[in-house]
């Protein structure tokens, strides 16, 4: 979970997505294949090579008004084809905190 904000070289080791936060309200979003963003991981464009990742990230970062802090995050693709977060950090970003909130949501 080394902060991906410190990513310098872009080199992916498996299927990945580009994720960010929506500028006006901060919610977690994923870059789709249609040049926009979705809050659903299932809508995310999957990249499998470092070149693809770089290209998708560059396109995402260009949307400076809509999204903040874009970076490349690993995913896991189940046999069923379902996309799941690829590490604990991304799991937490998608599902929320791993503890009970003091006031139930």
């Amino acid at each position: 979970m080394t902060s991906p904000l410190e990513q310098k070289k872009i080199r992916i080791t498996g299927p990945s997505v580009v994720t960010a936060n929506r500028t006006w309200d901060g919610i977690v979003i994923y870059r789709t294949a249609r040049q926009d963003w979705s809050a659903k991981l299932s809508d995310a464009a999957i990249v499998r090579t470092s070149d693809e990742a770089r290209a998708l990230l560059a396109e995402s970062v260009a949307d400076d008004v809509g999204a903040v802090g874009a970076y490349i995050a690993p995913v896991e693709i189940k046999e069923s084809g379902k996309i799941k977060p690829g590490n604990l950090r991304e799991h937490i970003r998608l599902q929320g905190v791993t503890i009970d909130l003091p006031v139930p949501a």
């Binding site: 979970m1 080394t2 902060s3 936060n21 400076d64 008004v65 604990l88 929320g96 503890i99 006031v103």
Partner: protein, 553 residues
């Protein structure tokens, strides 16, 4: 409590309007994120894992009941109904929307609350002793000086773009509850031989990747010279602090690289030149008196130390347990300082719900002259409670879950938000804290163990102050798994010291067991029941604890 006057309020409102304009320009695209980031940080707005996080300043940890109610309002209206009190006496909200922030700030400004400089490379909240003004043996109220410093550092044109963040803390008591030795500038208020008020000035404390205990740069700076001397330090830092590497940019690195003597000479040199050319920053008694006059103090009654109510309540063992744990001696007879634990068993440390905040505001009005304090241990304080009111207060606190009798004990854990919230984190901290409170839920056991500060940080930025925990826990990442390094023997007070590593990092599932092993070793090894954990470690070193923990690992 300090009463903001029209000038203070005008400044806050002007800042809110400026930020409103900056947010508008960000959302329209006129400002890029790169340009906006520093501006939002200067107003305490971070981007975290799930959302923006909003850090609000609670200057030197003092709040009025009206202000606490307004924080509850912000929690409900703009967030998810709760807030988190931090290790710098501030409060954080984790789910705030950028677009709504100017309105939230406007609501806060109405009661004199702001978020200026709670983040960014500038001078942050001036923190102090949460018992300021009421602690026995205090020389004088350090908050007067904290307020002078707060004003001096707010929107300072020369020092708003420092190499890195800059933190102040002030203490005025022999026992340092403000942790001044781990701050960029630490100030110890005392009187010289002539009876004049002044400060021992320490610089270069700080935790993080390269922790340092602050060093004394000048044993006595007269109160009148406080601001000019601080300006000299800041100017030297602004010009010579490193800007090429964010991990080497704090003043502690500059002090370390130059050496304290050379650094002190640079500052002295700058300070002398400053005083030669103008005296604008020199304070006089009238200015200090003006700030002091806007601090109001309660009209204490003449009350007995042992009133009837207290005598009767002594029969209740639950009340007595709480009183012995959470109630502290006040400088005025008949009154008490009450610490409210925000560390319920099984709960996340340092959080309070909006309902709790509202209820507490009412209790503060009824029992504490409308005043609440926030401590860096992430607990709250009611600083002016009449001892005759303690039983009634306890009953009310117990109803709202603010009477856990674990203050300063092993389950009174200080923890950063960690990977559940924070984008800088490597590992989670809150579930570790929760499990530890469950392991030590038995208050008799916790009492038996005695004073023991556990500090947990989810990454090396050390917001949980793990380096100076009696037991320090640092989250790291190994092959995608959460691991934790354990240190022991740290202290944050006037005998500040960094903890020592006991051995290799242990996995998430083992941390609570390891802490139990350490505690068991302490109980077996302590010289007397009242030898504190941290003193046993000092006496025996790390070895016996390391053996115990790693014997079977």
């Amino acid at each position: 409590m300090y009463a903001y006057d029209e000038l203070d309020r005008t400044l806050i409102n002007e800042r809110v309007e400026e930020f409103r304009d900056q947010v508008k320009r960000r959302l329209s695209g006129e400002l890029t994120e790169d340009e906006f980031k520093m501006l939002r940080l200067q107003n305490g707005v971070y981007l975290q894992l799930h959302a923006y996080m909003f850090r609000i300043a609670i200057p030197y940890g003092t709040l009025s009941s009206a202000q606490l109610r307004r924080l509850a309002h912000v929690a409900r209206r703009y967030d998810r109904g709760y807030g988190h009190f931090t290790t710098r006496q501030n409060i954080q909200f984790n789910w705030i929307k950028l677009a709504e922030l100017p309105d939230a700030l406007g609501d806060l400004a109405e009661v004199g609350i702001h978020a200026m400089q709670t983040s960014g490379n500038n001078t942050r909240n001036v923190t102090s002793d949460q018992w300021a003004g009421v602690a026995p043996g205090e020389i004088e109220d350090p908050r007067i000086w904290s307020e002078l410093l707060r004003q001096y550092t707010t929107l300072h044109p020369e020092f708003s773009f420092l190499p890195r963040k800059f933190k102040f803390a002030i203490t005025a008591s022999p026992h340092d509850r403000a942790a001044i030795k781990i701050h960029d500038i630490g100030l110890r208020l005392h009187r010289n031989a002539e009876g004049e008020t002044g400060f021992e000035v320490l610089v270069g404390g700080g935790l993080g990747r390269t922790p340092f205990i602050a060093k004394t740069i000048k044993p006595f700076v007269h109160g009148h010279d406080l601001l000019s001397y601080v300006e000299a330090i800041l100017r030297v830092y602004n010009q010579y602090g490193r800007r090429d590497n964010i991990y080497k940019a704090r003043i502690k690195i500059l002090v370390h690289e130059l050496g304290i003597e050379k650094f002190a000479r640079e500052v002295e040199d700058e300070w002398q030149q400053m005083r030669d050319s103008d005296t604008a920053l020199t304070l006089d008694d009238a200015m200090i008196e003006d700030i002091r006059s806007r601090f109001s103090y309660p009209a204490y009654e003449k009350l007995p130390h042992l009133p009837e109510e207290l005598k009767k309540a002594a029969a209740d063992p639950l009340f007595e347990r709480w009183r012995k744990n959470s109630v502290f001696t006040h400088k005025v007879q008949g009154y008490a300082i009450v610490t409210l634990s925000l560390k319920p068993i099984g709960g996340p440390p340092g959080d309070a719900t909006a309902d709790q905040m509202d209820a507490l505001a009412d209790l503060a009005d009824k029992y504490s002259f409308g005043e609440i304090r926030v401590g860096h241990e992430q607990n709250l304080v009611l600083p002016h409670v009449a001892r005759r009111d303690l039983p009634a207060l306890w009953a009310a606190l117990d109803k709202i879950g603010l009477a856990t009798p674990n203050v300063n004990l092993v389950s009174d854990i200080i923890a950063c938000p960690g990977l559940d919230y924070c984008s800088l984190a490597n590992a989670r901290s809150i579930p570790i804290a929760q499990e530890l409170t469950r392991r030590f839920a038995n208050h008799d056991t916790a009492d038996l163990i005695g004073r023991l500060h556990v500090n947990i940080s989810g990454c090396i930025n050390a917001c949980g102050h793990h380096h100076v925990g009696h037991i320090g826990i640092l989250g790291v990442e190994k092959n995608g798994e959460e691991f934790y390094q354990i240190t022991i023997g740290g202290r944050a007070d006037e005998n500040a010291e960094l903890g020592a590593l006991i051995g290799p990092a242990v996995p998430y599932g083992d941390v609570a067991d390891v802490v139990e092993d350490i505690v068991e070793a302490y109980l077996a090894l302590r010289a007397r029941p009242d030898e504190l954990f941290v003193d046993t470690v000092k006496r025996l070193g790390v070895e016996p604890f390391r053996e115990r923990v790693y014997a079977t690992r």
